[in-house]
């Protein structure tokens, strides 16, 4: 059972993600995580400001339950299904990240610089998390989906718009890592 506690290889994880999509479709639903962000806006009363948020959010209750399950899954995986959560990265990437100030590269699941509790006391880090989060939320709705809706569901259905969106995801990611990161880290 040791394999369970080690990081799961891509050829196990990828097919299991496809299984999640399969199960949701079999239950008459669809696979899309970012829709929950819109539902949360509606629950908070955003319908007063924009008709984009005027819909019957109770019809999306099932997806909120999936998202709540994902939170629980993260808790279970971290606390009961992992012994060592450090990520074995490409050694060159580790060297590069350490030179940028990410001392925990190769030794942790997430960079301590951004995700340890000291992050709250550094305005620059808080700003990075705010900007990153806002871009994700704004971009996902603008593009009509995120990694689950476009990259997995849309591409699986051979939808051209999803291919364009996923190309956009990669262009954005490459710009951030190769052009903007050298300016901020």
């Amino acid at each position: 059972m040791n394999w369970m506690y080690d990081p799961w290889p891509w050829y196990v994880s990828g097919p299991l993600i496809a299984l999640v999509m399969f199960l949701l479709l079999m239950f008459g639903k669809k696979f899309g995580m970012s829709s929950n962000l819109r539902t949360m806006c509606t629950i908070c009363g955003a319908g007063k400001t924009s008709d984009f948020f005027r819909f019957d959010w109770k019809a999306q209750r099932w997806n909120l339950i999936v998202a709540f399950g994902v939170v629980i899954g993260g808790f279970i995986a971290k606390n009961f299904l992992s012994t060592d959560t450090s990520v074995e990265l490409n050694p060159e990437v580790i060297t590069e990240l350490q030179a940028k100030g990410f001392a925990s590269a190769g030794q942790a699941y997430l960079p301590e610089l951004l995700f340890s509790n000291t992050a709250f006391s550094d305005p620059k880090i808080v700003l990075i998390l705010i900007v990153g989060g806002m871009l994700v939320g704004f971009g996902a709705r603008y593009a009509g989906g995120c990694t689950s809706g476009h990259a997995i569901s849309g591409l699986s259905d051979l939808q051209l718009p999803s291919l364009v969106a996923v190309a956009g995801f990669f262009i954005g990611g490459l710009i951030m890592v190769h052009i903007i990161f050298p300016l901020i880290f």
Binding site: L16, L25, I72, V93, G139, F169
Partner: protein, 137 residues
């Protein structure tokens, strides 16, 4: 009853995202540096198997458990919204190192600063709703 099924599917998905390291900021960075096949393998194998699944649904006219036909709604035709929206999303994905699914995973795993990113993602969604009619689609 159905609620429990959705909860179980979500828990399973959360475990897969954490254990696959797709919820690791480092893995996302490494992907955009082309430093490892790992993330490409995850997305590629999920899509490969997904294509076979969807084609199978269509060919054999598989019905959902409720007897309704299964289909993924076609996305509306446009190029600009997918390019602009996609690039904006990608910028955030690389900066926060997490897309919406992994954000929920990291919350459960107890990395508290992700709460800032989640609240900001909700705010970003709200801003899109407000500005939507002024944006090229």
């Amino acid at each position: 009853m159905r609620s429990i099924i959705y909860l179980v599917i979500g828990i399973f998905f959360g475990i897969v995202l954490f254990k696959s390291e797709a919820a690791s900021w480092f893995r996302i960075y490494e992907m955009f540096q082309f430093g490892s096949f790992h993330m490409y393998g995850i997305i590629g194998s999920a899509v490969g198997l997904g294509i076979i699944t969807i084609q199978g649904f269509k060919k054999f006219k598989i019905k959902s458990v409720d007897g309704t036909s299964i289909h993924i709604a076609p996305k509306e035709k446009s190029v600009s919204r997918y390019i602009f929206g996609g690039v904006i999303f990608g910028l955030g994905w690389a900066l926060a190192g997490a897309c919406p699914g992994p954000m929920f995973v990291l919350l459960g795993a107890g990395y508290l600063p992700i709460i800032v990113a989640i609240l900001s993602a909700i705010l970003g969604t709200f801003l899109y709703g407000v500005l939507k009619d002024k944006l090229p689609h």
